[in-house]
Structures are given as structure tokens and as C-alpha cells.
């Protein structure tokens, strides 16, 4: 059976599955992160087909059993994410997308449905490389650790993004707790990802929903940015009181902007171009 390794910063897990399942795994949320290996990692997962059911094992212990592949992948995903975060003990996890342009890393922090994924798609299409969607891992050296899982395409993006036929549907919980149908789309469909090395943090952009079309990109004060940044921080207690110094260091060393935007993929081509150019100019000032 093929074995894949998923390496994120200091963390690694491996995954073993038979051939029909392997095809599905390769199209799953981790497709851009899978590398064939011969040696299992300390945390090793196996997916087996047993009596018409898929079974998921973590370190030889059964964790899930289900007939639906999507359910098994969903269970696998959150376990792997937790493992990788646990293994990157000194990294802070932020609710944000992260991209790099010419090795200048940017994080785009925002509440759900403020346009993180749409903006990531737009920027990838314009030559930026995806480091991660949904959340970013940053360490004390101001390095963004790449974690380019697949993009989670929620219903509001279904008519704006071409979804390949036959892609599995994953039912997740939406912002209001309702069940929504999502697809995991490889960022490689839009451009390139950066999975091999971390990127230095050079800019922080906070996304805010704008009711009218168009966008507005403005610098913001650092003391105000601190309050915003803390709202998007998941695991500050994991590293003790040092987190406050991490944030201060990030804020004192990067430009800070607020991007008010309705939907990046609904901008006119001229507006999209203007937005990309303005974001590149931030990077030039970094």
C-alpha cells in the first residue's frame, strides 16, 4: 500500500491506504501536501476497507469507521491538523489565509466569509503562492510555516469557481451552525503553492466585509492592529505569556493594512488588477 508523508514545519504525519482509497486521498484536502515515502512517521494513519466500510486508524488505534469516504477524510483532516499544530508547539495559529509574493509572506486575517479564500484564489491567479488558506502558523522568527491544504469552497463561491466534475461533497457546519456543502479544491488549479520552506512575514492585512462593491485598502495604526490580531489568534495559551511579545514583534516589523472588500472574485477585472497592484506595493514597502 502507498505511504504518504505530510510535513508541516517541525511536524510530520504519514498516511497509508490501499489503491482505490489512495486516489480519493490524493484528491482530498491534503493533495498539495502529500509526498510518497517509504518510512512511516511517528504518527501514522491507515485507512482500510473492511466489510464495505472504511476504517481509520491512528497509531494502530481505530478512530473512525464509516461507509462514506467524505466522512473518513473529514475525520482524518481534523486529526491531522491537530497533530501538526501540536507538533509545532511554538507556533501561533491565526485565523487567516497566508500567501507569499517573491518570498514576502503576507497574512490575511478575517472572520468567516470576509473573503480569505476568494482573495487567495485571486492572488494565486496573479502569481502569488499559497502558504495556507483558513489558518496560518507563525513562529517566533516571524516565519510563516506553509500548510497549503486545499481551498475550502463554501456555497457562496460555488458560482464563482469552476468545480471539477466528480469532486466529492463535504458537509461541514457553516457560520451559523447550519450544514453547508463544500468542496476541497486544489490550489494548484489556480496557480502555485509554496510547501517546501517557510516565508518571512512582511505584511498583515485585516479583511473586513464591505457592503458595496469595490474595495478600500488603508494602513492602520499598530496599537489598533494588536486588538484585531488578538481576535484571530487561536492558541495563545499554548506558548505561555510569550505570545504577547510575538505579536508586538510582528506588529513593529510589518506594514499593517485593513482591506474592506465585498467579494474579491466579484470585482471587475480592472478592480482586481488594482487590488493586486496595491497589495504588491505594500510588499515593496515592507
Amino acid at each position: 500500500m502507498p505511504i504518504y508523508k505530510i510535513q508541516v514545519g517541525a511536524g510530520a504525519v504519514s498516511l497509508e491506504c490501499n489503491h482505490p482509497v489512495a486516489a480519493g486521498v490524493e484528491a482530498s484536502v491534503f493533495s498539495a501536501l502529500l509526498n510518497p515515502t517509504a518510512v512511516p512517521a511517528k504518527i501514522h494513519y491507515r485507512i482500510l476497507m473492511q466489510n464495505d466500510r472504511l476504517t481509520l486508524f491512528r497509531k494502530n488505534r481505530l478512530t473512525h469507521r464509516n461507509r462514506q469516504f467524505a466522512r473518513i477524510i473529514y475525520a482524518l483532516e481534523w486529526q491531522i491538523v491537530n497533530d501538526l499544530i501540536e507538533q509545532n508547539k511554538t507556533a501561533l495559529k491565526l485565523h487567516s489565509a497566508a500567501l507569499t509574493y517573491r518570498n514576502n509572506g503576507f497574512i490575511f486575517c478575517g472572520a468567516p466569509s470576509t473573503g480569505k479564500t476568494s482573495l487567495a484564489i485571486l492572488l494565486i491567479q496573479n502569481g502569488w503562492q499559497l502558504l495556507s488558506d483558513e489558518f496560518a502558523l507563525l513562529n517566533a522568527d516571524r516565519q510563516i510555516i506553509p500548510f497549503p491544504r486545499n481551498l475550502i469552497i463554501k456555497p457562496h463561491l460555488h458560482d464563482k469557481v469552476t468545480i471539477p466534475a466528480g469532486l466529492p461533497v463535504f458537509r461541514l457546519y457553516g457560520d451559523s451552525g447550519e450544514k453547508i456543502e463544500t468542496h476541497y479544491l486544489s490550489p494548484l488549479l489556480f496557480g502555485s503553492v509554496k510547501a517546501d520552506a517557510s516565508a518571512p512575514l512582511k505584511g498583515i492585512v485585516f479583511l473586513e466585509k464591505k457592503e458595496q462593491t469595490g474595495f478600500d485598502l488603508q494602513p492602520i495604526a499598530r496599537y489598533a492592529g494588536f486588538r484585531l490580531l488578538i481576535q484571530h489568534l487561536f492558541n495563545r495559551n499554548q506558548i505561555g505569556q510569550q505570545w504577547i511579545d510575538f505579536l508586538v514583534d510582528w506588529l513593529n516589523s510589518c506594514p499593517l493594512y485593513c482591506l474592506k472588500i465585498s467579494s474579491p472574485l466579484e470585482l471587475s477585472p480592472a478592480e482586481q488588477q488594482a487590488l493586486v497592484e496595491q497589495l504588491i506595493r505594500i510588499h515593496q514597502h515592507a
Binding site: A221, R222, Y223, F226, R227, I244, D245, V248, N252
Partner: protein
Amino acid sequence: MEKIEPDFRPTVRPDLPFRELSDGGVVYDYRTDTLHSLNTTAAYIWALCDGHHTIADIVASIRENFNQFETDPDNEVYQIVEKFRTLNLLSNV
């Protein structure tokens, strides 16, 4: 709460870590998990709330070092120190 007098020497709580930013600062109260963001002026005043400077000293220092006030800086200093006091950031009230 008593009115703040010019000879009052505000002292910030020693258990509150202050971190300087290039345009202000932040104070984090671990006990209550509360964050306070300070703009440039408030951060400057925070640094002077050391128990040695009176309100009058702080006003004089602000007048000397800041020329950004359209209004009287006295009022600004009193308001900010009052805010520190209301938020329980001072050890002497």
C-alpha cells in the same frame, strides 16, 4: 471616586506588562484577560505614571514633547489618567 488633582502621582499597576509599539503600546491584564490598546499619547502618559510624576509634571512634559494638540493638553491628560483609573490600571486611586 475623587477628582484627580494636579499633585496626584498616578502609578500604574506593576503586574501589568506594557509593550511598546512604534505608534503606541499595549497593556495586557493576564488576570482578567483584558487587552488595552494605547495610542501614542496614552502610551507616553503610561510611561510617566510611575509614582514620581504628578499630573502637572505630565501635562508639562506633554506640552514640551507633543505639539499635536488642537485643544488644551491638560484635558487630554486628565481624561487619559481618569480612564486608566476607571479601568483599574492604577495601583493608587
